[in-house]
């Protein structure tokens, strides 16, 4: 071990030790800066998302964290080790471009991936058979990879990523190419891993997955990380939105509405004032506005993403999603 892992929180109150810590990671390819000064801290046991459009630098960041490539600048530590291969048995990795040997049997493929992570081959193969049974693929254990459907092959590779019981699981675009049913299965699997104390970090360009699963996110765009922290804190970057419906259309109470209030249909929309909702409510009641409904909606991660990364990055993200759905 190079050094005891420092404690850097996802949120300010988080004192868990870090599974991953990266500071100022820079990677250039042929003079182009792919990743530019990325800082990420992932506490042990967290589900953490790296969110950004295609080409933002997600995969390069993950490859640097895993030691597949070395950063040109900056430091990375995985469980306190600066050389991730030294603790290869603690890590499971599912790359974006999935691949297995087509002539290998499913159970042997899992065994081989386990052996790569240091398990005895026989033990890894036996465990692979168990995992296939548990995940409803027992019937495919002795089939060659080339005989499996794409979804089944992806599941086999995911099980191969988990067969050695890693403490850190890194998934690069794990939902890509899966149908809705299998996406749901994968979400449940990720939650199950985290409940067992495994740290899961995954990259995605689909905000909904990150919002549903992640405790922390790093928003990445153009190789930079403008935000890394908890999902809640990201959403809190945008004031909550108030939706108000009143009986009266006009009256003195209108003066109490914030400056950004706009009227659409039957509703008023505006940001929650810094002073809170109570003074406003009082003014509405005293001004006899006749409140029919009032709701306060917290900003979603999508809005936070637009706010933090900008319109262009958000557009690229949506274009990526549309392209994938079109395939």
């Amino acid at each position: 071990m190079d050094a005891a892992p420092s404690v850097t929180p996802v949120s300010e109150n988080d004192m868990r030790p870090l599974a991953i810590e990266a500071r100022g990671l820079v990677k250039r390819f042929d003079g182009t800066t792919a990743v530019d000064g990325v800082d990420i801290s992932v506490p042990e046991g967290a589900i953490y998302g790296i969110l950004g459009p295609n080409g933002a630098g997600k995969t390069t960041t993950l490859r640097m964290l895993l030691g597949i490539i070395d950063p040109d600048e900056g430091v990375r530590k995985v469980f306190g080790h600066s050389r991730p291969h030294d603790i290869g048995r603690l890590i499971g990795y599912l790359p974006e471009e999935r691949g297995l040997y087509p002539a290998m049997k499913a159970v042997d493929a899992i065994g081989f991936l386990g052996a790569l992570r240091g398990m005895p081959l026989a033990e890894a193969t036996a465990r692979g058979r168990e995992l296939l049974e548990e995940n409803g693929l027992g019937h495919a254990a002795d089939k060659q990879i080339r005989q499996l459907s794409k979804g089944m092959a992806q599941t086999v590779q995911l099980l191969g990523t988990l067969v050695h019981r890693p403490r850190l699981v890194v998934l690069d675009e794990p939902f890509s190419g899966l149908d809705a049913l299998n996406q749901g299965k994968l979400e449940r699997m990720i939650r199950s891993l985290a409940e067992d104390g495994t740290t899961v970090i995954f990259s995605t360009h689909v905000i909904a997955h990150a919002e549903r699963l992640c405790e922390g996110v790093a928003i990445i765009a153009g190789g930079k990380v403008p935000y890394a922290g908890s999902v809640d804190a990201a959403r809190d970057r945008i004031p909550a939105q108030v939706r108000l419906e009143t009986r009266a259309r006009e009256g003195a109470w209108r003066a109490a509405l914030p400056a950004d209030a706009r009227h659409e249909g039957d509703y008023w929309y505006f940001s929650l004032p810094d002073s809170g909702i109570e003074p406003l409510l009082r003014a509405l009641i005293e001004g006899e506005a006749g409140i029919l409904s009032l709701s306060i909606e917290r900003a979603g991660l999508h809005d936070a993403f637009v706010h933090i990364a900008g319109e262009a990055a958000a557009r690229a993200l949506e274009e990526g999603n549309a392209a994938e759905q079109g395939q």
Partner: protein, 406 residues
């Protein structure tokens, strides 16, 4: 569903390489391609046999056998003077005057290593005695009679009768045969290596096509991936050699000992076989690691195929260099072939066939092993630096030459 215990450790480089080697070895051994791999050497042996014959002939021409003249001094000089007069008119064997004291046992003089005597002439001008192989005696008997008659001033109607004493072999015959062995071994080594290096490159291309390479790179160091691949193919080739060797031995057993007709290499057959296997391993590991480095440099399968062409040309160049050097042992060219890592195994197996010294082989094997390590390390470093770029793969032309086009 997944438990929590994972022992914190990493695979050692050799164990990691073993995991890769075991997978590759079994995958290749159980593939249809292995059957064709086993068939390949039948063609190779036919080609190398032919090349050996050509090499032996080339060696004869490069080092023509000489006639050692060991007559009393005056007669020897007269013989040499006659040779000088007639040689421009009739093609005669080259002669060397030898002290008659050294030729007390002409058969022993013929066997002396380092000399290139095809036959030894003793006796006198009127009663010349020609000692040599039957083949050589038959070839030179007439010329010796002509020269002896000319040297002694006898008219050409009364040539002296040449007494002949035949031996089973001579230094020149041995040298020529060893040169043939050297060329045959060198050619066999080259063809086997070329076949295998191509296979290891195909293996890496397959890995790229299957997109499994990133899983390997994330799990274990690339050095281990490269070493595993190299040694898997080496093990496959040794299985092949065992099969071919077994078949060869069976044929030899059935035909009553083919070895008797094969020229014995300078270091003897057992050691020569061991050295052949070692140099084969080194030649393959060196060129295989170069091919893997090429695979590493190329981001796409198309690039791999484009870049492998110059490496194949390099192999051919190395082969020609080593073949040329084998006919001129001790020359600067041969030294260069021994030092240049890709040609070193070929030059050294050629040397083993012709020179009995053993220590140069130890030095050469260590030298070659060092280069294997360097090539593997450089290849894996390049792989990590150049291939693992994220995002969509560029076309071969753009990715390879884009830098120059900018």
């Amino acid at each position: 569903m997944i438990g929590q215990t994972a022992p914190a450790a990493r695979l050692s480089l050799l164990r990691a390489a073993f995991v890769i080697a075991r997978r590759d070895f079994l995958a290749i051994l159980l593939s249809k391609a292995f059957f064709f791999f086993l068939l390949g050497p039948i063609i190779l042996i036919a080609v190398s046999g032919g090349a050996g014959a050509i090499g032996a002939k080339a060696a004869k021409n490069a080092h023509p056998a000489q006639l050692a003249v060991a007559m009393p001094t005056e007669q020897a000089h007269a013989f040499a003077a006659a040779h000088d007069r007639i040689d421009p008119l009739v093609s005669l064997p080259a002669i060397t005057l030898v002290d008659p004291m050294q030729a007390s046992d002409p058969a022993a003089l013929l066997q002396r290593s380092g000399e290139n005597y095809g036959a030894v002439l003793t006796g006198s001008l009127t009663q010349p005695v020609l000692t040599g192989t039957e083949d050589q005696i038959r070839k030179w008997q007439g010329e010796v009679a002509l020269l002896a008659a000319t040297a002694s001033g006898a008219d050409q109607q009364s040539f002296p009768r040449v007494v002949t004493e035949s031996t089973t072999t001579s230094g020149a015959a041995k040298k020529s045969a060893r040169a043939g062995t050297a060329t045959a071994a060198l050619t066999l080594l080259f063809l086997l290596t070329m076949l295998l290096a191509g296979m290891v490159l195909s293996n890496l291309v397959e890995e790229k096509a299957n997109k499994i390479i990133e899983v390997l790179a994330a799990s274990i160091p690339m050095d281990a991936v490269f070493l595993g691949k190299l040694f898997a193919m080496l093990a496959v080739s040794f299985v092949g050699i065992a099969v071919w060797g077994g078949i060869g031995l069976a044929i030899m057993g059935a035909t009553g000992g083919l070895t008797a007709s094969l020229p014995v290499p300078a270091v003897g057959w057992p050691l020569f076989v061991v050295l052949f296997l070692l140099y084969f391993a080194m030649a393959y590991l060196i060129i295989g690691s170069v091919f893997l480095a090429i695979g590493a440099m190329a981001p796409t399968v198309r690039d791999v195929q484009t870049l492998s062409m110059p490496a194949t040309m390099l192999q051919l160049g190395v082969f020609f260099l080593a073949t040329y050097a084998s006919t001129d042992l001790g020359s600067p060219v041969e030294l260069a072939a021994v030092i240049f890592p890709p040609s070193s195994p070929y030059a050294m197996i050629s040397r083993a066939a012709q020179v009995p010294d053993l220590w140069p082989h130890l030095v050469a094997l260590a030298w070659q092993a060092m280069w294997v390590v360097l090539f593997v390390r450089a290849g894996s470093a390049m792989f990590r630096r150049r291939v693992m770029k994220s995002g969509p793969q560029q076309s071969g032309k753009r990715s390879l030459f884009g830098k120059f086009a900018r």
